[in-house]
């Protein structure tokens, strides 16, 4: 019922607008040139009003929504990105304000007036040269600074960076940490099944102690190297608080290095929000569960991290040992040894 009422009301408003507009056109036709000049004047004034309200509105709404923006970056490189963002914001902001004011002001100031001609001004090479060169200089600065940060962010990880594997699948994240040996075991997509979710190849001894927790933990101020992949379709590792986006693709491993700098507890204090937590999301559409691919992320102090790590059993122990899966693995190892061939499908 309300639907019909709304539709009826909208139709009524529409008809009203149309009738008033038609009447207005008749009047304007009768008034001739005067009506034209009035239209020009009124629209000119509207341009001026719009420009003022637009700029004021932008400043007000930015200030209003500022608290909802991301807090200070929780990673080292995130500060570089934020600096880059701010430099760009200032440079483009100046251009934005000046051009919008010029546009609104001219649109008002030069509305049509009786007996006036437009000023014949077809070109001015000097002027055009200026507004080619000035943006070129500004952009050169942005490119140089931007690429300086870009190469620092994408450069090789330090040798002591801890490796964590993140694998996307429809519709959740799988993560894998190396065990006490500090090495991730090799994995093979052909070994993936219901239990062995990332296809760890247990022929490789280094994989036996790998752990696969259900949440991500990082130790503060330690460099990490995320090794990113996917099982089925393209996903994207989104860690907005750490200023990280990196695609996760089947068959095409990617990586991202970063150093978390603010623990979860510190961030709770900084944001004055006791419920604050870091979250990992999926940033590339991957199907119907795309918006539900969430994993909690914690940045711990050294002690917290060690305590957490100690509690994590190896994946082999919890999921494989004593199950049919183990028998299968033992069988395949035996087979491999007997044929002494076992081609390596390792997925680095």
């Amino acid at each position: 019922m309300t639907t019909y009422l709304v539709i009826a009301a909208l139709l009524l408003i529409g008809m009203l607008v149309v009738q008033i507009s038609k009447a207005n056109e008749y009047i304007n036709t009768l008034r001739g040139d005067d009506a034209e000049l009035d239209t020009d004047r009124i629209n000119g004034i509207l341009w001026l009003i719009f420009t003022v309200l637009f700029l004021v509105g932008i400043v007000w709404s930015t200030w209003y929504y500022l608290p909802l923006f991301l807090p200070e970056s929780a990673s080292e490189h995130g500060h570089w990105i934020d600096t880059m963002f701010n430099i760009t914001l200032i440079l483009t902001g100046i251009v934005f304000v000046l051009t919008q004011i010029a546009l609104g002001y001219f649109a008002w100031k030069y509305h049509g007036k009786k007996g006036k001609l437009g000023f014949y001004y077809p070109e001015n090479n000097k002027l055009e040269m200026i507004w080619t060169i000035v943006p070129a200089i500004a952009l050169t600065i942005l490119v140089v600074v931007g690429l300086y940060y870009w190469f620092r962010i994408t450069g090789p990880a330090s040798a002591d960076a801890r490796v964590v594997e993140i694998v996307g699948k429809q519709f959740n994240w799988l993560v894998r940490y190396p065990g006490p040996d500090g090495k991730l075991g090799t994995s093979n997509w052909k070994l993936i099944d219901e239990t062995n979710a990332v296809g760890i190849d247990f022929n490789d001894k280094t994989g036996i102690d790998d752990i696969m927790p259900t949440e991500l933990h990082f130790e503060v101020n330690k460099p990490y190297l995320l090794k990113i992949g996917a099982r089925d379709v393209i996903h994207d590792v989104g860690l907005p608080h750490f200023r990280i986006h990196m695609d996760a693709m089947p068959g095409l491993p990617t990586h991202f290095k970063f150093t978390p700098t603010i623990t979860t507890d510190e961030m709770k204090k900084k944001t004055d929000n006791p419920n604050f937590d870091y979250e990992m999301c999926c940033d590339y559409i991957c199907g119907k569960g795309h918006s539900a691919m969430k994993m909690m992320v914690y940045v711990d102090t050294k002690e917290q991290y060690q305590a957490w790590l100690k509690k994590q059993p190896s994946f082999f122990e919890t999921a494989i040992k004593g199950t049919d899966a183990e028998k299968k693995i033992v069988a395949s190892v035996t087979e491999k040894v007997s044929t002494e061939k076992g081609s390596d499908h390792s997925n680095h």
Partner: protein
Amino acid sequence: MDAKDLHHGHSEHHTGAVITDHVHYQDTEGVIRFEADHGHHDGDRNKKNFIHTYIFSTDHKMIGKQFLITGIIWAIIGGALSNIFRMQLGFPDVPLHFIGTVFGDKWAPGGKMTPDFYNMLITMHGTILVFFVLTAGLSGTFANLLIPLQIGARDMASPVLNMLSYWFFFLAGAVMFTSFFLPSGAAGVSWVFYPPLSAIREAAVGSEAGADFWLISMALFIVSSLLGGLNYITTILNLRTKGMSMSKLPLTIWAILITAILGLLSFPVLLGAAILLIFDRSMGTSFYLDKIYMSGIGAMPHEGGNPILYQHLFWFLGHPEVYIVILPAFGLVSEVLAVNSRKPIFGYRAMILSMLAIAALAFFVWAHHMFVTGLNPFVGSVFVFLTLLIAIPSAIKVFNWITTIWRANIRYTPAMMFSVGFISLFISGGLTGIFLGNSSIDIQLHDTYFIVAHFHIVMGVAAFFGMFAGVYHWFPKMYGRFMNRTIGFIHFWVTFVGSYCIFWPMHYQGMAGVPRRYYSHGAFESFNKFGALSEFITIAAIVVFLVQLLFVFNFLYSMYRGKKVTELNPWKSNTIEWTTPIHPGHGNWDGPLPEVFRGPYDYGKDGEDFIPQTVPMRPGETTHHG
């Protein structure tokens, strides 16, 4: 200018041929009956037959109108889809029972749309608006309408190819429309159609038959686009009237020419990408697939492909595509600005050179869509440099437009309002591109609402504004009547303010990291703080959509009841389309083709309000360009 001399001789040579052609047309009046008896010659006898006049027409003006009206229908569909998914984002608890009625109950049990339906909506919204409305609807309409009229030709170089171009577009649309009503629905894997999601049927409901229909439809669409583009280029280069050298062409025609070249060079690549994807989907090849384990299927046999290959091919079209969308708008806006400012466009040559620069660079920036795909950082850096280079010709255009209205005597028609609004939008949306084009910032903003805000403002709404400017301005030439101006002004202000209300706040969501293409942000503490803002955006989107319906009403009403055009040149414009009769027939000019003596922007020159292109240069008159 060297180019001028070069092309001048060229055009004179060809206009000779056109004039002969004109004699042929003159003759046809008398010869028609004779030819009709033989029944194998295509001439003006088309006029007599409803089907040949309105459906299988070869008259460029009618084909232009066909593109426009088809484009309007698609725009209404595409816009309505966006309103439906905005309801999910702004008011997820409001039941929408009509979804079940129109599309089938499984898409919205109890009036609550499913994520699959949501994905289908965003996919089709993007596809329809980018390809059917802003490519075919915009280029198709104004290239067909304006090329022969503004260069002084009887029709396109190949009227039949031109007709086929429309009908391939129609067919593409028919296939796409049908896909909505498939049991598995239309494609739902986002308009960029990245495999493996789009390559494996089991990956999503939206990757089933709907995706096949999408690919077939796109292939047909590309054929349409190529037929049209070839024709536009040939016509502009060969059929210019006497005196119409390249340096005397209106900027609309320059823009369309450059657009057509871009399309001709980039669309075939998308066709290749689509064909390889069809192979991967249906014939078990592995162009884009490698090492995949699908839940429910197990390890798949595909090996050795590369999902990034598709992205390179797609964006090799996809990036020029955004210029295919915006360049015609540049042209239309430049023309409308000059006419209604009663001033020459500032820096005519710089305007052409900047469009050429943008078009050339358009082919070397595609990988800026792929900064976070693990692209080699060095390759990424090259694309940063080339991408930000585009800001320079774009800046030149903006400054030149602003200078054009400086010390003008502006006549505010709805077309002029949309042109000035276009500049504002192009500034706002263009500047955010400088953030996204810089790879280090893109790491953070990639696939958030920031990018949604950016491209909707700079190429979505701005291109629409160019289109509106064109429709209001050339409506008198299309239908011999004016559109209602008061409704036009209401349409402009609500659309302009409303569009900023929709898209400006999305920057804020983007700066908060909110990802795009999310059915719901509820699961994330970090993203679900924008409930009130989402409601506001949704309401603004619905209001803007309703005002477009007012525009459509104005369009249809004015077609039959609008104020009649009583003078040949109602806008006091210099370009030669206004020397044709108020209702031009097939062939455009009753008498001989007009001869052109000067550039199109002599407004306010030597104390005269305007000097049409057909007025010979006075002795001793100086010229700034052409």
